[in-house]
């Protein structure tokens, strides 16, 4: 099993229930193939650096999961078919998913978190 991270951009006109359904659908594609989802991060709609399929905005979704390479191939194939996905990118995380410290923590706490993170890396 390898750890991968996929970012996909959902069409900005896909909102509300439709959007939730799309995200769920792709999460389902991963789980039904026996991969373990580690993290789902919905960044919300943001401006793109350049136009993609004539859209200036897009809704970013980040998914980190553990799976084999054939799962990624199938996942990407399904994303190519779905027109509500305008762009995607999969990255292989060599070191696995790093646990980020809590985002809404003060600096001192964040530093402690970073130290703790480092120590866990060493023990791995």
């Amino acid at each position: 099993m390898r750890t991968y991270e996929t970012i996909f951009i959902v069409h900005p006109d896909v909102v509300g229930d439709q959007y939730a359904a799309t995200v769920d659908k792709f999460k389902g594609i991963l789980t039904e193939q026996g991969s373990e989802i580690l993290k789902v991060d919905e960044w919300g709609t943001r401006k793109l650096a350049y136009q993609v399929k004539k859209q200036g905005r897009g809704t970013y979704v980040l998914v980190a999961y553990q799976a084999g390479p054939e799962v990624v191939a199938e996942f990407e194939r399904r994303m190519r078919i779905d027109e509500s996905i305008i762009k995607f990118q999969t990255i292989y995380l060599e070191k696995g998913l790093e646990v980020a410290p809590a985002p809404a923590a003060s600096e001192a706490v964040a530093e402690e978190g970073a130290e703790a993170e480092e120590s866990t890396e060493e023990t791995e």
């Binding site: 650096a49 200036g56 990255i91």
Partner: protein, 89 residues
């Protein structure tokens, strides 16, 4: 033919930009290079969207390579521009 050669240009100031020397990622080990953190990468791209070379950014080879890779990944997923020439709105 009286073709006066232009006098050699007075030596240009040796350092045009005063940037901090040394690799900032080596100096501060807590800094992470991540293609998703565009705010940190902005420092390493020019106004035109080009990657700032090592001689100016001051990065060491290892970190410059990581920065380059991160910028290219960010470009692929439309977080950073390939060029500033295609602004829209």
């Amino acid at each position: 033919m009286a073709f006066e050669r232009k006098p050699a240009r007075p030596a240009a100031p040796r350092r045009r930009f005063t940037r901090r020397k040394g690799c900032r990622f080596c100096g501060d080990k807590t800094l992470k290079i991540d293609y998703k953190e565009v705010r940190n990468l902005r420092y390493f791209i020019s106004e035109r969207g080009k990657i700032v070379p090592r001689r100016i950014s001051g990065n060491c080879a290892t970190h410059q390579r990581q920065v380059t890779e991160a910028i290219k990944r960010a470009r692929n997923i439309a977080l950073l521009p390939f060029t500033s020439g295609h602004s829209f709105d």
